[in-house]
């Protein structure tokens, strides 16, 4: 690995004002515009107070327990109102309830409002947590049964437009990584600098690393600086910072490898940018870069094919829940893209080594 080649390529990229504009300024401006534009749309998904009805139908459910549950619920902005009779679904409709719970001896049934499923899920989570803690307390295990925290359920993380677009647009711009190297590619072609590499017998792998590492470093840095700016200027919340940074870097590395592969195959910057951006746009379209993916009507199969979907979903869930089941697939997809694209790049470079500079 030639550190001087890497170092000087980094200098070349950092001296380009266009890179600063693309990776730092544009994402911040776009995040600001999109989060403002979609603020009202996203507000309905924000956390709201929950009012639910309940009825006790089992003899084993004690009054003390219901009383305790109502108190804990109150602490968590959940109001439980008793309705001794009536059809639960009708009661939900008529009284604008978020849900209805029927307690039996050792089971309970929760009716959810079809239009506010996320509130029903929150209610379900609360009751579950209460029962678990109550059981633990009965078994003599010390628990904080008096404080049950209602978290946003997994299936529909509540996130505001600022956080959502603050995350997905940063990722989208990170997928434009190849542009960071545009100046180098143009210069190398225009002035036939690659002749010097050929004469010095620089291997295709070395040449690949000489581009991959600098582009990945510059694009990652630009993306992280843009993210820091969105945090400080717009108050975007990323959740677990080290984990989010790791996913962002993995994403930029994957983008760099993927787009370098296209460049090594086409050997043409314009074609690379057109092809890369078209593919990235499609991945972004199904990955939630242009709309709220969790409510979109796109088929799940298409969403799952898009690496950007896994990355966006992992990051937005980390932002609002602190964890995500999509973390492993985000890393897995990125790793796979890096390995496969790098291999193809080196093979294409080896094939192209002779006869064309």
């Amino acid at each position: 690995m030639n550190i001087y080649l890497i170092k000087n390529n980094i200098k070349l990229m950092c001296r380009s004002w266009f890179n600063i504009l693309l990776f730092i300024i544009m994402p911040v401006v776009l995040v600001f515009c999109l989060s403002s534009a979609f603020d009202s749309l996203m507000k309905k998904y924000e956390e709201t107070d929950i009012t639910a009805g309940y009825r006790v139908e089992g003899d084993a459910v004690t009054e003390d327990m219901i009383e305790a549950m109502c108190e804990v619920a109150e602490d968590n902005d959940i109001t439980l109102i008793e309705y001794p009779s009536g059809d639960p679904e009708k009661l939900i409709r008529d009284n604008e309830l978020s849900g209805f719970i029927i307690f039996n001896d050792d089971t309970y049934t929760i009716y959810e409002d079809k239009d506010n499923k996320e509130l029903g899920k929150a209610l379900e989570y609360f009751v579950n947590a209460f029962y678990e803690n109550a059981t633990a307390a009965a078994m003599g295990v010390e628990v904080n049964s008096a404080k049950v925290t209602v978290e946003h359920p997994d299936f529909t993380p509540a996130i505001d437009s600022k956080d959502y677009y603050g995350i997905v647009e940063i990722i989208y711009f990170g997928w434009c990584a190849i542009v960071a190297g545009a100046g180098i590619f143009l210069n190398e072609k225009k002035y036939k600098i690659r002749k010097r590499f050929r004469v010095a017998d620089v291997s295709p792998f070395q040449e690949y690393l000489g581009k991959f590492i600098p582009i990945a470093i510059v694009a990652s840095l630009g993306t992280i600086i843009a993210a820091v700016l969105t945090v400080s200027l717009l108050g975007v919340h990323w959740g677990n910072i080290p984990l989010s940074v790791a996913i962002v870097v993995a994403s930029v590395l994957a983008a760099t490898a993927f787009e370098l592969m296209i460049y090594n195959i086409t050997d043409n910057l314009i074609a690379t940018i057109i092809i890369s951006f078209a593919i990235v746009w499609v991945m972004g379209f199904y990955g939630g870069s242009f709309e709220t993916y969790m409510f979109s009507s796109h088929p799940m199969t298409l969403k799952n094919i898009s690496p950007i979907y896994h990355i966006n979903r992992a990051l937005t869930e980390i932002s609002c829940m602190g964890h995500s089941d999509y973390m492993s697939s985000a890393f897995g997809y990125s790793g796979l893209i890096i390995v496969v694209s790098s291999l193809i790049s080196v093979i294409a470079g080896t094939i192209r080594k002779r006869g064309k500079v």
Partner: protein, 250 residues
Amino acid sequence: MSIILKTNDLTKKYGNKVVVDNLNIEIEEGEIFGLLGPNGAGKSTTMNMICDIIEPTLGNVEFMGKDFKKNRKELIDKLGYIPQDLAIHGNLKAWENVELFTSLYGIKGAELKKRIDESLEYVGLIEKRNDYAKTFSGGMKRRLNIACAIGHHPELLIFDEPTVGIDPQSRNFILDKIKESNKNGATVIYTSHYMEEVEAICTRIAIMDNGKLIAIGTSEELKKMVVEDTESITLEEVFLTLTGKKLRDY
């Protein structure tokens, strides 16, 4: 004098078009060998094959008695190539350009720093080491282009039209440096369209046309191919007599 470079039936074809046709030349150690030819004669293709930038269709290049392609790793730092294009980065400073291209030969650390200063000093750009290449004049860029190719101390220097588009002072400086390199022991292959330059510095000259070697010898020997009285003819007239006056790039 021993042979430093030899081409054996070197041929390059693109489809049915023969660009270089069975070229056999021998270059002796310590000489300045001029390669002349009109546009499209095959000079650059020959240079590219000598430097192993492109693959010959037939034939091979022997460098220091060994097949160059097969012994590339061993011989690579003995060859310096100064391309016709200004193969430098405008957004890098002069010393950074030299660092980048000298490091390709595995030179690093303190030795690399020493070579950078040495190369810039050699081409008269040491005072401008911290200036961006894009701010340089045409002549300075040409000199930097040379500095980027000599840092690894090659024994054979290949200059591909190094004086194109520069003022007489810069041209004179570059020619003096080529002669100085030669005096210091480097063998030089030099291509140019400027006949007086070739005549002034080259010990032997080859003329190519349509991919073939049509004449080779000292300036005097080439002149004698055309007329007996060598005083009455210039190298340019010899060149035009041998290659014809018809335009090549129309």
